[in-house]
Amino acid sequence: MTETVKRERICLKKKYKDLIFYILLIAIPLAQFCIFYIYVNFNSVLLAFKRFDYDTGIYRYVGVENFARVFRDFASSELVSASVKNSLIAYAVGLLFGTGLALLFSYYIYKKSFGHKFFQVMLFLPSIVSSVAMVMMFKYFTDLALPEVINKIFPGSEFIGFLSEENTRFGTLLFFCIWSGFGSNVLLYVGAMNGINDSIVEAAHLDGCGTMREFISITFPMIFPTFTTLFIVNIAGIATNQINAYLFYGLDVPPNCYTLGFYMFKDLVTGTAGLSEYPYLSAMGLVMTVVVTPIVLVVRKLLIKFGPSAE
């Protein structure tokens, strides 16, 4: 009997110790969060339920009027459906080429193939350069250099530029996002791959496993957690991704480059939002968050459940 009681007491003591430890760990970050996030942004969220009264100069509560306007706008605006379509395409392309290539490039580097050190540095370089500089270099190249070359090779074609022509604009923006975005993903994947136990890999090689097979059966499952994390971050980003539209086009983004993120926050990003518009923007942000959060959590659960496990 005393043995069980003793064990229980040790168990309780450990649970108590664990709880103290837990609280100690999260105390400061949580306090910072409460002050610098909740307190500071509280009003911004409440704004969604208010309306600016120009006569008195204050915001007053009006219930869900702004939310109704958000839904009406979404239902009636043609630009919304174009934006949603673009957001989804951007996501799909980003997944296929961005994530796909990142995984393959990381694998190349992890395998210490020819020139891997050099490639690793080069892949990371665009992340170091400020986005303003990258955009400028890219823009002049695609809309001044390349058209000249193209018009020389195909005389009489009068191609203006990749960002200027209607048919190539959106694709060029997507290309830019992928082209300059390998840095952090590759870094994280390579780091994760380097953590794979060498003995497993050697065993597989002894069994005659080829490069591709190794990737599918060993490397990818072993880094699946990292992959899941970045995957759900991407999903969370569907509704906020602006594919650098503002950096390239400024105030006049052509409609076929609109994404949902840009559509919703164009006025905020360009700094033209008026006082009376903040409640509307706040409501729109809330609606979007409330819709996307559960999706992200569900996707995460599914991935963990059905994805390859480290076993």
Binding site: L144, I160, S164, Y249, S276
Partner: protein, 536 residues
């Protein structure tokens, strides 16, 4: 590795540098500890800061014996150049210690209601007697300006400068290439110019196309001579659309254009399209806040779109006009150098704003080093009148123009008490006739007030004189209004007034193949649907 060690040492040196301020000097002049400082923030865009320096010097001279602080005599004015627009200006107020601000694109009402600006009602309404004038600042403003700048009966800012979009050309180029027109509509040089649309010799439209047919005849002639007829910045398509707004204003006239801002009155030129035939409304339509979208059917807007369509479909534009790398400075550079450099097709007409000559000062400087006779003020630029549809040539007499810059001056509310009177005095000082004239002399651009230039007119550049005369003969419509629908949705009305379906910029839509008719119809239906979404 030795290299690594070296770099590590270098890094330590750099961190050590933060302990010592080894930065550059302290700007133009050092702080004078014997004087009180007044800090002025200036939007250093197309108008520069030379005018402000001149103003500040005179102000310092006037106040050199003032004692505002213990042990200090006199004032030192220091300039802070800040290129902020829109809400950035208001954000800057949170951290800036500048006292007086000269801005562009100011969200005035929002700022006033959030208590950023000092109340300067007395300063604006009291006559400027201490400067020998009987007028007050308020009396130099138009009624539209007064209504806007008065928020709940109080003034918190005053207008600053103004500018309008339009088409500009080089008179000497037209002369040598015989691009002017006679009364009969044939081509000639400067000496043989016809009277223009107003039928009066000696006015700015002499020798220029009187209607659409003549205008496109001119463009065809330019094309025949191997020129690109018109150029505008591809990266700033708004330049083209804002020019169309002025085309529409020129067609409609002052009263009808004002309707777009006041929503009070009767719309007389509304049309519908049956195919591409214009059908005028049988009766004038009373306009109010709930049916304001009907104004999208103004005939002027349709003709403006047609005008743009003909330019674009006829391929009369330069290569930079739709290129994303060509911003307004690049467009000016191309226009200016095309006349001197054989590597480019010469551009005949530039679409820009009336401030463009000043804005291009640095470009003129670079050019003067290479091409003689290309410096600022050495070339004579003129304003091209908007060609009215055939048969309606007389409309060009109405001369209404829409002002786009929304520039204003105000005082930061959170400044030291002892400086408030000084700042107020500066504001009054900058609105005296002498100061207004000095601004125009230096920048060759008008201030957004009513004042006179007599002898000083000849001191402006040729183009500056053109702009001045243009302003004297036009009625300026400002893009603001004290009608609640307008000021509660300022962003919509200032930036999205020509939305059509998913397009917001007519030139881009037209270039992509949309017709002017479809765009016009789309403008109406889009406005109709989104009207209920405006804050009312």
């Amino acid at each position: 590795m030795k290299v690594k060690r070296l770099l590590a040492v270098l890094m330590c040196c750099l961190i050590a540098c933060t302990m010592v301020a080894c930065g550059g000097g302290t700007g133009d002049d050092p702080i004078d500890p014997t004087k009180t400082q007044l800090y002025i923030s200036n939007y250093d865009g197309g108008f520069g800061d030379e005018w402000l320096r001149a103003l500040a010097d005179r102000f310092e001279e006037l106040h050199k014996d003032d004692r505002l602080e213990e042990g200090k005599t006199g004032i030192q004015v220091r300039l802070v150049n800040a290129k902020k627009q829109g809400n950035q200006i208001l954000d800057e107020m949170l951290t800036s210690t500048a006292e007086v601000f000269f801005t562009e694109g100011l969200p005035y009402r929002d700022g006033a209601l959030q208590d950023y600006f000092l109340d300067i009602t007395d300063a604006v309404t009291t006559p400027l007697t201490e400067y020998g004038e009987t007028d007050s600042i308020e009396s130099k403003m138009t009624v539209q300006q007064q209504n806007w700048f008065k928020v709940n009966g109080r003034y918190y800012a005053i207008p600053h400068y103004e500018g309008y979009y339009g088409m500009f050309y080089d008179i000497d180029t037209f002369d040598t290439k015989n691009l002017f027109m006679t009364d009969a509509g044939t081509f000639t040089n400067y000496a043989g110019r016809g009277k223009g649309a107003d039928g009066v010799a000696g006015t700015y439209d002499d020798g220029l196309p009187v209607n659409m047919t003549q205008f496109f005849k001119l463009l065809d002639e330019m094309k025949r001579q191997g020129m690109d007829a018109i150029g505008w910045p591809g990266a700033n398509p708004r330049y083209m659309s804002d020019m169309l707004v002025n085309y529409s204003a020129a067609y409609e006239g002052y009263a009808q254009t004002m309707l777009n801002y006041t929503f009070k009155g009767s719309a007389e030129n509304l049309i519908t399209l049956s195919g591409s035939t214009v059908v005028e409304d049988a009766e004038a339509l009373p306009i109010n806040e709930s049916n304001g979208y009907e104004l999208r059917r103004q005939a002027g807007k349709y003709y403006a779109l047609e005008f743009a369509e003909r330019i674009i479909d006829g391929n009369y534009y330069s290569s930079g006009s739709f290129n994303q790398t060509s911003d307004y400075l690049d467009s000016q550079t191309k226009y200016l150098t095309s006349a001197f450099d054989n590597r480019m097709k010469e551009i005949g007409i530039l679409i820009d704003g009336t401030w463009w000559e000043n804005e291009a000062s640095a470009i003129f400087e670079s050019m003067a080093k290479r091409y003689p006779g290309s410096g600022k003020g050495e070339r004579r630029f003129g304003i091209m009148p908007f060609p009215m549809p055939d048969g309606e040539e007389s409309r060009s007499q109405s001369s209404a123009v829409v002002e786009h810059l929304m520039s204003a001056a105000f005082i930061n509310k959170n400044i030291a008490d002892y400086k408030k009177d000084l700042a107020i005095d500066f504001i009054r000082f900058c609105a005296t006739d002498e100061s207004l004239v000095e601004f125009t002399k230096i920048t060759s651009a008008p201030k957004a007030f009513q004042y006179d230039l007599t002898d000083e007119l000849s001191e402006l550049t040729y183009f500056g004189q053109q702009v001045w005369n243009f302003k004297q003969n036009s009625q300026v419509v400002y893009k603001f209004s004290d009608t609640p629908l307008y000021y509660m949705n300022t962003n919509y009305f200032q930036n999205n007034n020509w939305e059509s379906g998913i397009q917001a910029v007519p030139s881009v839509a037209l270039e992509e193949g949309m017709s002017a008719e479809d765009y016009f119809k789309g403008m109406y239906s889009t406005a109709q649907t989104s009207w209920s979404n405006l804050i009312q």
